[in-house]
Point group: C2
Chain length 137, copies 2
Amino acid sequence: MVNFMNILKEKNLKATPQRISVLKELHKNEHPTIDGLYEAIKKDYPSISLATVYKNVHTLKENGIIIEVNMPNGKMRYDIFTKPHIHIVCKNCNSVEDMDYDKQLCDYQKNLEAKGNIEIDRLDVIATVERCKHCSQ
Amino acid sequence: MVNFMNILKEKNLKATPQRISVLKELHKNEHPTIDGLYEAIKKDYPSISLATVYKNVHTLKENGIIIEVNMPNGKMRYDIFTKPHIHIVCKNCNSVEDMDYDKQLCDYQKNLEAKGNIEIDRLDVIATVERCKHCSQ
DNA sequence: CTATTTGCAAACCCTTTGCAAAAAT
DNA sequence: ATTTTTGCAAAGGGTTTGCAAATAG
């Protein structure tokens, strides 16, 4: 069980039930859209407003607690950030899966930095597949 | 000089002056936003409408003549597609630069496919930098 | 007690759509 | 002559904002 209270306290964010719900939902259901979050949270917390979900997602993102994943179609999804990873997106069922940011990718990043004479702040990698295991059943 | 007429004819698209303007602008100024395209084209073609720019960009994208680049901030930019490449985005000045999709990345993709038991349709790589050569002047 | 957060409604993008007129082939 | 494309204005969808009331610390 993750201690959301501590995560929020560390960043001096108030632990409102709405905010905890957002974190819980992000922990349970990975990569939801804003609307997916909203709909899911409403089941436990019917009075929550969409604006509150937006505001919380914004605050959590600003504080590095969650990350925004920009899907190839331009829709945003959200993800509790634990460690660097890349995303596999399925065109057919729209599911998103994480894969580790491995040594090979790390080496690639280093070479890219050398080749382009740049310092990369962040490397987003999104692999799109036509179908995935989730949608072939 | 690129022959836009032939590119369009190959895809059975009509060569209207508006469409040619969109292609010309994408060829000259790389990675514009829709609005950037619109503003630039208006100088030569003041009567063009924003809807026409949207429609043309959509059509050109559908026909594989241009690609949509999904910026980390969620804004879309457009790019005449010639060969596979990745994007370097500057956080500071918002410029976008291309770099080749090289052998190392190709190998990475192959291993990722093996590791995840997937067939990747497309791999989007966006490196974000804090500042770039364009904005340090 | 103070600062933050919530919820509502309005405002604000940006993008798409329907349709009649214009233009391309 | 036929089909596509344009331009306009309206509609649509998602996100942000202002503000007073509620809540957390």
